[in-house]
Structures are given as structure tokens and as C-alpha cells.
Symmetry: C2
Subunit: 209 residues, 2 copies
Amino acid sequence: MSELPIPKHHRVTQEVRREALIRATLDCLAEAGSDGASVRKIAARANVSIGLINHYFAGIEALVAEAYRLLATELLESIEKAVEEAGTEPRAKISAFFRQSFAPPNLDYKVLHVWIAFWSMTRRSHEVQSIHDETYGAYRTVLEGLLGALKDQSGDQEISVRLAAIGLSALIDGLWLEWCLNQKTFSPDEAIRLCEAWVESLITVRSGR
Amino acid sequence: MSELPIPKHHRVTQEVRREALIRATLDCLAEAGSDGASVRKIAARANVSIGLINHYFAGIEALVAEAYRLLATELLESIEKAVEEAGTEPRAKISAFFRQSFAPPNLDYKVLHVWIAFWSMTRRSHEVQSIHDETYGAYRTVLEGLLGALKDQSGDQEISVRLAAIGLSALIDGLWLEWCLNQKTFSPDEAIRLCEAWVESLITVRSGR
DNA sequence: TTCACTATTGAACAAGTGTTCAATATGCCG
DNA sequence: CGGCATATTGAACACTTGTTCAATAGTGAA
């Protein structure tokens, strides 16, 4: 009887391995927050040895930074997809933005703890800080585009699109943060209603003059 | 020449020592975020040995939980003080609330990292979770009181004070969070203006019917 | 002044962390 | 099939972490 050779490990493309490690990092962060992002836990989840992380990344900090970039990018992509599927009407697009923001998988207290881990790193790591700046800027730009379309349509020139987008993104983030920290205070539906009210007030108040 | 005895340490009231340790914890958290809250760093800052922490607190987690309670309480107290000093006019009181929220020492990126450290603990520690629930509930209650007074004055019965307070606190938190993470996107003054606009829209939209 | 209480100390411990690097084994190419 | 490049391994390292507990020393009372 010849023993069939069970390979202890196998090789994959650099790209594949990198993404697997990044995904494992997000999983670990979602499961245990900041404490989850240790080389040993990440390596275990990716079915890989500890040493491999430093072969693909400059250090654990760089790996977490890449995970930040992936999460932020995928969040924005999922929102943009929902917005596009909502048709051409600006007002309907914005509603789709809200619904996507306050629904799984984006609205998830586990995901909050991933963001919290990232935020806590903005201080130490310039890399993480600039990834935040980039991705949050992109997020606000999308919001500005939607609010700008609404402005063009209503013909109202008094709305500051920039400020409106800043306020709206803050409202969304604040509601999202608080809901994740305590789901009993209000419902996701109420959060959406509050966002809708913000947009309505932008239109109604000014055009009522 | 008799050597003058330099005491290696001195005793203080339990209350005094406890508060000193809690204050040292807040300092450490402000200085280095979650990483700052280690028994050794806290003990060093409080000029005390490592062992004393476990003499006064069940563990490092309990100490950090107490620090949470103190920070949240003092934040709310500082805001309530500013509100009371603003006079009796509901609208002016709310403005004072905003100005106090977006001014030092409350608006400080170092303080953000203290909050972040607390948020990251809500998952592990039921104690921290319930302190969050309590203090955030108190915060929203104050806001509800102010918005309720505004509602009584305007005679408008359509405003849901509860939802308005939830939205407003989310807006404040979101603006505060984002400003602390990146001071270049908007100014504290603009944040205040956005909050004022929220209140205005509550009044104007409905009473315009 | 002496005593006794206890606040305070700090060494010891086990467990965790990130990084390094020589050794290994895998899969491709000739 | 044989050989090579290198992806992958995991032990070793120097740290940091929170908790424990016997020993120490400050301080008010007798």
C-alpha cells in the first residue's frame, strides 16, 4: 500500500494570497475587534503560517491598512451599485443610497468594530490616515454628486452642495454608529426616515422662500 | 547630620486614589489610544505601583469602564452648564449646546481616541455596554428636553421630539467624529451651522404648512 | 512611643504580541 | 524525470500584557 502524499501546503498567485490574507484580516477584525488582528489569528484563519504575513506585507500595520482600503472600497461600490439600479431620478437615487447604508451587510455591529479598529490606527499610522482621507473623500464626492443633481433639478441655487453632503454623511455615520452600539434606541427604518427628512428640508426650506 | 526621611509613598483616601487612577487612565487613553490603557502606563502616570490598580479595581477593564463613566458624565455636565448660562430662550439654549459641543476641550482628536477605546470595549464588556447605554440615554434626554421646549413654543405638534433628538445627536456625533479624524474637510463653525440648519428645518418646514 | 491596620509595593508568572530567518517543500520549466 | 526558484514554514527572539501575593512601610490610634 503506497501512502498518498498529502501536501502540507500549496502555492498560489501572489495576488490570490494577498487578497486571502486581507479577507482573513477583515474576518478576524469583525469577529474580535482590534484584538482579532494579530498575526497568529489572521494566519490561522487564512490557513497559513505566521511567517507568511511578513513575506507579503511590510508588517501587520500595512496589512490592516490594506484591509481598510478594501472594506471602504467595497462599501462605496455596493452603495453606488444600489444607486445606479434605482433609475435616473435623483431623489430616488438618494433614497437607494440610504436604504443600502442601513441594511446588511453594511449595517452590522461586527462591521462597526472593524471600522473602530481602523479609526484607532489613524493616529499611529500615516498610511491608515491617508486611506481614510481618500476613501471618505470619495464617499462624500458621491454624495455631492447626488445632491448636486437634486439641486439642478429643483433650480434652487442656495443650497451649498458641499456642506449639505458633509452634513448628510455625518448624519448617516452618526446614526449608523449609534445603531451599531445599541440597536434598541431606534430602528433602521427610522434612521432612513431621518435621512429622508434631511433631504426634504434641503429642498422645502429654501424653495419655500 | 540626620538624614531627612523621604517617604517612598504616601497614603490617601480611597476616594482620592480611585479618582487619581481614573484620571490617569483618561490621560493615558488620550495620549496613546487603546494602547495607552495598560496597567503599567496608568500606574506610572498616577505615580503608583502596578499592583495598586488591582487593589482598587476588579481589573483593568473595570477601571476603564469607570473612566468611561467619568468622561461621559463630565461631557454632559459641561454642556448642561453652557446651556443654563445661555438664558431661558429655548432656541438660544440649543445654540449654546452646539457651541459647547464643537469647542475645546470636547472637540479634540485626542478625546476621540478615548471614545474609540471605549466603543471597542462595548463588545467584550457588558459593564462598558451598559455605561454607554446609560450615558448616551442621558445625553439624548437633555436634547429631547431642549427640542421639546422649542416645540411647545412654536405650538407645532407634528415634530416627533424623540426622533428629532436621535437625528440631532447623530448629526453632532457624526460631525464630531469626522472632524476629529480629519480637520481639513470642514471647520467647527460649519459644523455648528449644519446643526443650526437642522433645528431651523424642524421649525420652518412644519410651520410652513 | 508603640502598636496594629492596611495602603502600597514590586517581583514573579503565564500568556500574548510582531518580526526575523534558516530550513523546507512545492510546483513549474527544461 | 531532474533540478531549480521561491512560496511557505515555524522555531526563536525580545517585548508587552494583566494578575497574583507575600513583603513592606506609612499613619492614625492607644
